[in-house]
């Protein structure tokens, strides 16, 4: 009798566990709406751009898409680990220069960058191949730096990442034979069609999403919210952070490569403080802990900047032309950011993601 009952009990527990344990990919199915919606948003913007047929507007949107990649790259590390990083633009720099090394015409390269190894001097790849390699290169660099940095936490980690940025900038500004020093590296093929940038941005969004729902991403978020409990549950915090750091470094590298192809010129000072702060503020305004926040932050702030620029240029209303004084754009942008953060300290999206259902807490 007892044997039977114990058997029933066992099978019951089994059923309960089975019921509690989610089916494979259940989390993926539940959350995939977010990256799809974000991608649709970007696709819609791109389609509108293509329809207007305006070249400067096209370039503006390319810029927005590149920034989406940057901010999503930042989110992968900052959003999931809760550690503020000032160093990620360094990986962008690595990616941009790697793309330059791989795509510039060998003849131009050997006169402008004679210090490159021979095999690299002879290499000339198509831009998308170069972009993938650039992302890998930045990822490897992130792995090396991260191995050391991820042992730190809190403000120490943030300052250390800043040191990485300063270091990369100094090396790239002074290694004349390999990076051209402070002068521009030219001859990078310029890609003015918008589609590659859209693909890059969408890929970044899906990478960020896949990382966030992966075992490592979930563990990292647990560590962000409750480091002690997470560590006690067996989460190896430095390791999980390192994973996020490498993935985000690679995404930043991809963004850097695409940025290089969008302007056709790279210099080390492009990838320094101003780009660091504009991308960080876009992430913070959108909501640090949310992928949707990152993307929406970029789109909103870019739209705002563009609108202010148009007003600076003068908008005619009827007979009168209404124009803001030059330079007001930067000031207005600052004010708007302060207002947003005062009203919503954790950013527009906070920790939430956009979904179709109402239960949208990002755990």
């Amino acid at each position: 009798m007892s044997a039977v009952s114990s058997a029933t009990e066992t099978s019951l527990t089994g059923e309960v566990i089975a019921a509690k344990k989610q089916a494979r990919f259940a989390l993926a199915r539940k959350t995939i709406v977010t990256p799809i919606l974000l991608s649709l948003l970007l696709i819609a913007i791109t389609l509108i751009t293509v329809m207007t047929g305006s070249r400067p507007f096209n370039q503006t949107v390319i810029d927005v898409l590149v920034r989406v990649i940057f901010v999503v790259g930042l989110y992968i590390f900052i959003g999931n680990s809760g550690v503020l990083s000032f160093g990620h633009i360094g990986f962008t720099c690595l990616g941009a220069y790697a793309a330059a090394w791989l795509t510039i015409n060998p003849i131009m390269k050997s006169s402008a960058l004679p210090g490159l190894p021979d095999w690299l001097l002879q290499t000339r790849l198509i831009y998308w191949q170069a972009a993938i390699l650039a992302a890998l290169f930045a990822g490897v660099a992130a792995l090396i730096f991260g191995k050391v940095l991820m042992r730190l936490s809190g403000i120490a980690a943030s300052i250390a990442t800043f040191a990485v940025l300063a270091m990369i900038n100094t090396i790239y500004s002074n290694w004349d034979s390999v990076t051209g020093g402070t002068s521009s590296v030219v001859g990078i093929p310029i890609i003015r069609t918008i589609w590659p940038y859209l693909i890059g941005a969408v890929a970044a969004i899906f990478i960020a999403w896949a990382h966030a729902i992966s075992r490592s991403g979930l563990a990292l978020r647990a560590a962000r919210d409750e480091p002690t409990a997470a560590a006690a549950s067996g989460v190896d915090i430095p390791k999980e952070r390192l994973v996020a750091f490498v993935v985000s470094g690679a995404v930043m590298g991809l963004g850097g490569a695409l940025m290089a192809h969008s302007i056709g010129v790279v210099t080390p000072d492009t990838f320094y403080l101003s780009l660091t702060f504009i991308t960080l503020s876009m992430l913070v305004v959108g909501g640090m802990g949310s992928l949707s926040g990152g993307v929406i932050g970029v789109v909103l702030l870019s739209a705002l900047i563009q609108a202010l620029r148009w007003m600076e240029g003068g908008v005619s209303l009827g007979d009168a032309t209404f124009a803001l004084p030059k330079g007001i754009q930067e000031i207005a942008l600052g004010v708007i950011m302060i207002v947003i953060l005062a009203l919503r300290p954790s950013g527009l999206m906070g920790n939430r993601e956009i979904t179709l259902t109402r239960s949208n807490r990002n755990t």
């Binding site: 370039q59 302007i263 240029g313």
Partner: protein, 397 residues
């Protein structure tokens, strides 16, 4: 509701602004993709004003090919990414000539956009060889003179006219422009050494260095004070370097590039003497050409101030040579205009001659006026054209 309507109207207006203007054969459009804000504005604005003066002159004389020249502008905000957009936006407004920022680094994104669209681009006053075929493409030009020509001019002039024998080379490694001046000096020096000159030493510093005491000590320990110091630097660090050299009691001639032209900073080094700068035209009212002095007056009437440095002039030269090329080609079609520009050999302009070849869209030889500052007063003391053009190897270094 009214508010909403206004927003819609604004949005529509913005969209219609963004649409490409339809090609209009009745006019010729010059597009300025230059800095109207940010730090580059200080360099771009004066040259752009000079360009506008030439455009107004042409329009007053009946226009170009019988058409009025129209001007469209887009602000680069002294930012490279914005520069690319500015270039594209003036192109969309139908620019036949895209004028870009003075500096190669900041002008190139817009110039590359023009090159991509097969249009002619002109750097307002860039002095790097990259501002042209080498760094942009076959439709790109610069209105100024290569930096190496300045270094070479000063060395040869000091040796031939001032009898300087012992030269010292002091390079500020901050920018490509500085290095360019010294590259020209380095190319000229062996020629002068064959005739009896001597390079007695060389040193480097950085523009931001607060003190160049170490460099000064090395100059002081030379057995004899050098006759001339070739100082390859630019603002703002130049002032501090000059001040320290003089304060240390070094009274050698100081030879410079055009970058330090202007009297705006002279009050920082009172009673400066024995100080020489090559310029394309004099802003001090004593230019040997009456036309230059007349231009200065026109410039003052228009902007309310005298030109602040010689970098105003290339803007005028640019429109001048481009308009001539268009006139000769009988069209604004880019390849035809480029072909005409490349035929120019010693083409006279208000500020010296211009030569463009299919290899070089820049000046590797030019007449320079030499301005001497004596007891704090700058004035023209002579002019010099280097004996032979600076060769490609020295320019590309």
């Amino acid at each position: 509701m009214a508010y909403k309507m206004r927003i819609v109207a604004t949005a529509l207006a913005s969209v219609s602004l963004a649409f490409p203007a339809l090609a209009d054969d009745e006019k010729i459009v010059v597009g300025f993709a230059t800095a109207e804000s940010g730090f580059m504005e200080a360099y771009d604005k004066p040259a752009q004003e000079a360009a506008m003066i030439r455009i107004e002159e042409i329009n007053a004389a009946g226009g170009l090919l019988g058409k009025k020249i129209e001007v469209v502008k887009a602000d680069t905000k002294s930012d490279r990414a914005e520069g690319a957009k500015a270039g594209l936006s003036v192109l969309d407004e139908g620019a036949d000539l895209v004028v870009v920022s003075c500096d190669y680094d900041f002008g190139s994104p817009a110039a590359l956009a023009a090159e991509d669209a097969g249009q002619v681009s002109f750097f307002l006053c860039a002095e790097s060889v990259k501002a042209g075929i080498q760094g942009v493409g076959p439709h790109s030009f610069s209105a100024s003179v290569l930096a190496p020509v300045q270094g070479a001019t000063m060395a040869e002039w000091a040796f031939k006219e001032k009898g300087a024998k012992d030269f010292y080379r002091l390079l500020d490694t901050w920018t490509v422009y500085n290095k360019g001046i010294c590259d020209g000096f380095d190319w000229m020096m062996p020629k002068l050494e064959a005739q009896g000159a001597k390079l007695v030493g060389e040193d480097t510093f950085k523009n931001e260095d607060a003190s160049i005491a170490a460099q000064i000590t090395r100059i002081k320990t030379l057995p004899k004070e050098p006759d001339a110091i070739m100082l390859c630097t630019m603002m703002p660090g130049a002032v501090s370097a000059i001040k320290q050299l003089r304060a240390a009691g070094i009274n050698s001639m100081i030879l410079n590039g055009s970058g330090v032209d202007g009297s705006y900073w002279l009050s920082a080094v009172p009673d400066l003497s024995n100080f020489y700068v090559p310029v394309q035209g004099s802003i001090y009212g004593d230019d040997p050409s009456a036309d230059v002095n007349k231009f200065n007056t026109v410039y003052k009437e228009k902007t309310g101030a005298e030109p602040s440095s010689q970098y105003v002039y290339p803007g005028y030269v640019m429109i001048d040579v481009w308009a001539k090329a268009v006139e000769r080609a009988g069209t604004t079609e880019a390849d035809a205009v480029v072909a005409e520009l490349e035929k120019m050999k010693d083409e006279p302009t208000l500020f010296g001659t211009r030569t463009f070849t299919p290899e070089l869209h820049h000046q590797n030889k030019a007449r320079y006026l030499i301005v001497e500052t004596k007891a704090g007063k700058p004035g023209v003391v002579g002019e010099w054209t280097i004996s032979e053009p600076v060769p490609m190897e020295a320019i590309l270094k």
